[in-house]
Symmetry: D2
Subunit: 425 residues, 4 copies
Amino acid sequence: MNETTPPSVSASSPSPAPAGGTLGVAVVGLGATTSTLLAGLSLIRQGKNEAVGSLTEMGEIDGVAIRDIVSLAELADLEFMAWDPYATNALEAARHARVLEGPMLDLVADDLAAVVARPAAFDQSWVSRLENTDNVISADTKMEQAEALIADLEDFKSRCDRVVVLWSASTEAYRPTSAAHLSPAAFELGLKENDPMIAPSQIYAYAAIRAGVGYINGSPNVSSEVPALLELADLNQVPLVGKDYKTGQTLMKTIVAPGIRSRRLGINGWFSTNILGNRDGEVLDDPENFRSKEVTKLGVLEDLLKPEEHPELYGDISHMVRINYYPPKGDDKEGWDQIDLFGWLGYPMQLKINFLCRDSILAAPVMLDLILFTDLAARAGLSGIQDWLSFYVKEPLVPAGSTPIHALADQEAMLFDALTEMRSA
Amino acid sequence: MNETTPPSVSASSPSPAPAGGTLGVAVVGLGATTSTLLAGLSLIRQGKNEAVGSLTEMGEIDGVAIRDIVSLAELADLEFMAWDPYATNALEAARHARVLEGPMLDLVADDLAAVVARPAAFDQSWVSRLENTDNVISADTKMEQAEALIADLEDFKSRCDRVVVLWSASTEAYRPTSAAHLSPAAFELGLKENDPMIAPSQIYAYAAIRAGVGYINGSPNVSSEVPALLELADLNQVPLVGKDYKTGQTLMKTIVAPGIRSRRLGINGWFSTNILGNRDGEVLDDPENFRSKEVTKLGVLEDLLKPEEHPELYGDISHMVRINYYPPKGDDKEGWDQIDLFGWLGYPMQLKINFLCRDSILAAPVMLDLILFTDLAARAGLSGIQDWLSFYVKEPLVPAGSTPIHALADQEAMLFDALTEMRSA
Amino acid sequence: MNETTPPSVSASSPSPAPAGGTLGVAVVGLGATTSTLLAGLSLIRQGKNEAVGSLTEMGEIDGVAIRDIVSLAELADLEFMAWDPYATNALEAARHARVLEGPMLDLVADDLAAVVARPAAFDQSWVSRLENTDNVISADTKMEQAEALIADLEDFKSRCDRVVVLWSASTEAYRPTSAAHLSPAAFELGLKENDPMIAPSQIYAYAAIRAGVGYINGSPNVSSEVPALLELADLNQVPLVGKDYKTGQTLMKTIVAPGIRSRRLGINGWFSTNILGNRDGEVLDDPENFRSKEVTKLGVLEDLLKPEEHPELYGDISHMVRINYYPPKGDDKEGWDQIDLFGWLGYPMQLKINFLCRDSILAAPVMLDLILFTDLAARAGLSGIQDWLSFYVKEPLVPAGSTPIHALADQEAMLFDALTEMRSA
Amino acid sequence: MNETTPPSVSASSPSPAPAGGTLGVAVVGLGATTSTLLAGLSLIRQGKNEAVGSLTEMGEIDGVAIRDIVSLAELADLEFMAWDPYATNALEAARHARVLEGPMLDLVADDLAAVVARPAAFDQSWVSRLENTDNVISADTKMEQAEALIADLEDFKSRCDRVVVLWSASTEAYRPTSAAHLSPAAFELGLKENDPMIAPSQIYAYAAIRAGVGYINGSPNVSSEVPALLELADLNQVPLVGKDYKTGQTLMKTIVAPGIRSRRLGINGWFSTNILGNRDGEVLDDPENFRSKEVTKLGVLEDLLKPEEHPELYGDISHMVRINYYPPKGDDKEGWDQIDLFGWLGYPMQLKINFLCRDSILAAPVMLDLILFTDLAARAGLSGIQDWLSFYVKEPLVPAGSTPIHALADQEAMLFDALTEMRSA
């Protein structure tokens, strides 16, 4: 805890503009997470539920509500639009996700039906398991796709006071950074020439940056963190947040591993397996897409345990992460962790953690907080990577030269320090 | 994390004397934990093992080893004596505990055989399951027992440069604080008149205080924290530390619950069951003795979750703790926790934690750290309750008016702050 | 498997009368299990569900459906009445149990509302946790209670072709067999003189026997198996079935333990803990009532493992059963079993079983089968204890001198043998 | 249970010759399982251990010890030889397996050191993870390898009264049956021409058959069950037994699944994951070799549940089996099964089984029983596939046209019937 790098926000001493007016939220992906977020917001606005899991609604620092420390958009002032490669709306998505049923779903039906999927920038080569899409932007080049998204955003901006873009769609295949990602010029040339290394998520990030609005990456995709987009974001003064919502097993890892390390108990192995049955699971069943996720998930332990400081305790860990598409779970998710510890005298011990959770339920409040805090960052004039929001993500993006912070308690401290610094005058 | 009270050490800005010379450790109880500590120290001194689980040996603050921040007794300078109501020695205790076997046990046999149990102050009415004791101080009054212990300590002090007393024996029956505990005079009268409300552990604490040496309570006994002994400790400038080593299930609770709360996930229930087969389990199988443990264990969650701040999330928790004496486990211990969570939309989720651990293995490094840090406190002139050592205990003793800190990360921060403040000039 | 005693049915070579006409089912207790049974039957009759878990509906022997082997009452021909100490009906009970919700509940609402609780023979001294009852037979003596029940049954018989009585109410306090239980005369005297040792469940059994209808005991109560009632049942040619539905943890025990024994793996310990939150759990939270359950549950392993044949494998088992009332579970139930095994070279191994189940869901098809098979027994002229139905119960009642069969596979063989023998001509 | 096919042994009414003299056991593979078997036998012969897990030593039928029903070789009369591609002996193998340690290992050291690996028929293309072998038969053709093995067996036969061959080595890569497997002539031509489709395990089976001794297949390899070898075995009157020792997760499956089916509870999914760290795990980490195992393991559920009889209960199961090489486990093995059930009203329930076991400990008594029973079969004049030994294997070989029996209770019944039929006159 003592070793957190000071958050990057501290240098600028920002003083954010107040949050009046409407905040437009443009979501990529109209599936279980997005519809669960919308259903919850509808019920909360009706006074029929509470924003469990959200710090913007339920958090406090030293007893003072976070909303009383910084000015945040009101839930009633949020406006949503969404892109999806299938012609659907949020009500259909909620029915399919089966989080809400019966009378509860009726209560939110109108609100959800109003959010209709706009045609998406989509390329099946990045998500081979998504077939028969019927709601894709028709365009000859990736640049034309980007222009269509920018037009959508400009239209949305004309109807809202401020806008943020949130990626909450499927994980793309893992492909390394290429030449097209190295500079704005190369990237824009790549868009025009349909460079196959440019991912749809990068087109969305580019569109958001061009439209001058913040971009949040809720998946493990390599997206806004390529040099070309980082440079553009700085030029356009756009905040970037990511990546990959920290929800189930990794959330537990960043809670438990720091405690084991605090006590200097040794670790021989950490075996993590997941079973999940939703579209996310189906997409990750493809090894190419799983690769993106695995990179994100495997890095966490190394950063948390710092084996270089204690090779005798953490220098030889078998860390395995498995994700299994297992249809009986539906949108539910289950993680099983087997942790092989050793203590005094090298004595072996075992810790087993079984987490029966639900992706969309854990993701929804994270999405809400990231939306409101990214809007806050924009109002505070912060641009580029916002590592003070590491609390919410599996693989925190950090400025070049920094090390990501993974321990949840340290991430919370960093978040609270940043908010305190942005305290409304 | 943001809400830790500043540790009580900060006011005094102590500058501890260096740790040269021998440190005598007088242990109450020569069972599995004590013999495991001794076996490990012997192997470490022989270069055949490492002090896994110990911060005094393996800890660092901002990359600087704790031993380079404060002056601590060398492991080679520790001398041990022990009291036990059974005529035994540490080698026999180790054989019975079966932590080490075969050739490894041979390596430490001589060191362990040298620690022979001295007659103990013992009263079966406080630990009904311990029968046929054969090594008990013969005395007419509790005061005579105390004088015998003090004589042991004075003799030990004459052979060592400094001394600390460590309770690592069985949990006593739970009895409330009574008139005899309210002032030094009442307590000493009670000792002379054999007041049945004075527990053996209180006699040890009294003896330590009278002998002017620090007292560490590794069990849930109501011991040095009664007003009479607190007042005497202040008068005699003796540090008091406790209580109840934080080892298995409660350790996990203080790691996991703060993470759940950080994310504002709700909790409906937390069911904790334990199975263990050693003498500790047998003693706790007696409802009177279990009561002491239960009081300690149940308080933790309430302090961690602060339901008064979030009654909608933590106001209605079924928290149950069960301890079962189950001989097949031997000295191994197994905890099973079932945690009923709820998230966004009130959706129920479950977290299950199964910890296969070993009491003595987890306790030994805690004992070592508490011994060395209590000695440090004494050299720093600190007296009374040492809450900066909360990191190691289930139920931290705190000065009147303070609230105990339970979250492991906050306890670590408090420990590191205190050590930094005691930094050797 | 080779050691099953031939079922007692075999001697009589019965040839049951066909099952035409209506079968009246008089249920003691209108709670979660009864309402779940009724809701399921209603949906099945509507073609909207299947009788999952029921052999009378889904079972076959050598490929022939059981219904084609023996003549069983049709589901459409079942008529229900119920007694309960609270003024309620099956719809209210279903709402409280929360098994069905929303539109599904609407589909069965009329059927359920029609089953209204008749006043019950009730005595709080046997179930201290049930307070504020408002629907109790008003009578001066237990004999008057019995007469009221008999009148109910005679009335029911006048409306149905045949009748069975099924106890599906709370577990009573454990009290040993007393003088009043030893002969019909003593029992009837006891009823008249309000002997405190006569339990309500025994009054129901007596009433059923007097009315000449079969009696099924779904709880661990000491009920129809006392000598007085056994003798009366023989006189009145009434079949008796019991006891205690085999549903969660014990079901698993009778599946798993025989397999371990078949392989001659040794067992050092079997620790079973249960958490459940319904009225059943609340009642069992009282040590007196838990005692009834514990007696039932502990006997199973001894019978299954036959330690006298293999003392070296099963002669020294720590078998513990814990039941915990834990409200967050509601009507859900969760068992956790820790089984300490040993194999070749005495090497220790562990098997851990975690069963997340639901009492009423597992009980309902057992109730259905027991109702239909008890009716079959009556039509076949079988009277007294029906041990061929051991498959369904935790503690099979057996004729004097017989040993109960617990292994599920052996119970199934015994059931199939009996049915084959009763094959319709 | 009612549906077992009569075991193939019944037709022949064999009357086995008595078991006097020495029984030579030629084992393929000198690793953890073989050395654990040998260590146990040594300790048992010294009276220092018991044959836990073995029916030949600890089993009885209707109270009569199996050894008193059929004549079996005495443990003192077993002689061992072994082939292994690494130059080792059983003592080294036991040290590496770390089942026995310290003084216990000393007790068996001489016996184990005496079993020295003879050069093996080995081909790395079938087990790519086994590198740097140093003890391989030097030969130009597979036929020459076979001849070398036959010479070993003839030599062994000259020193023993009877001989059996037991494959207890690594799982080979999965390759389908090819032309070379279809007739003895084609097979022998293939051996001479080094047909790449002929596996080493098939060469061992061929050698055993040619030498006229029984062959037991303890792995999932496609081995003696190809038409060519079946025909040869019939010609040479050799019994064949297999395949794949039923030890951990599959053993539990064949205990638990029949119980679930007996109760007609539905199954939506069964997810099985394994972690193991020994050479077996390493070999199975290769997808080609895992394929052999997966074929074996996946078939079990389908055979057990007979979805064609109950498509509404078992027609749509997600059955997944994962095996993970996870070094921290060493020779220990851990299975985690997540079973998604449904009951009355379609209500979902979950069963989770966590088995902490050890491959070699579970395999050793299975090996012993298979050795003694295969010898019995040979003495009884039984040849070809011995399906009455299905009790011990994951994928029972059965005569053409038969269906394998998987339920442990049914397999036990079949075993006991066969033994009863072979009862010594």
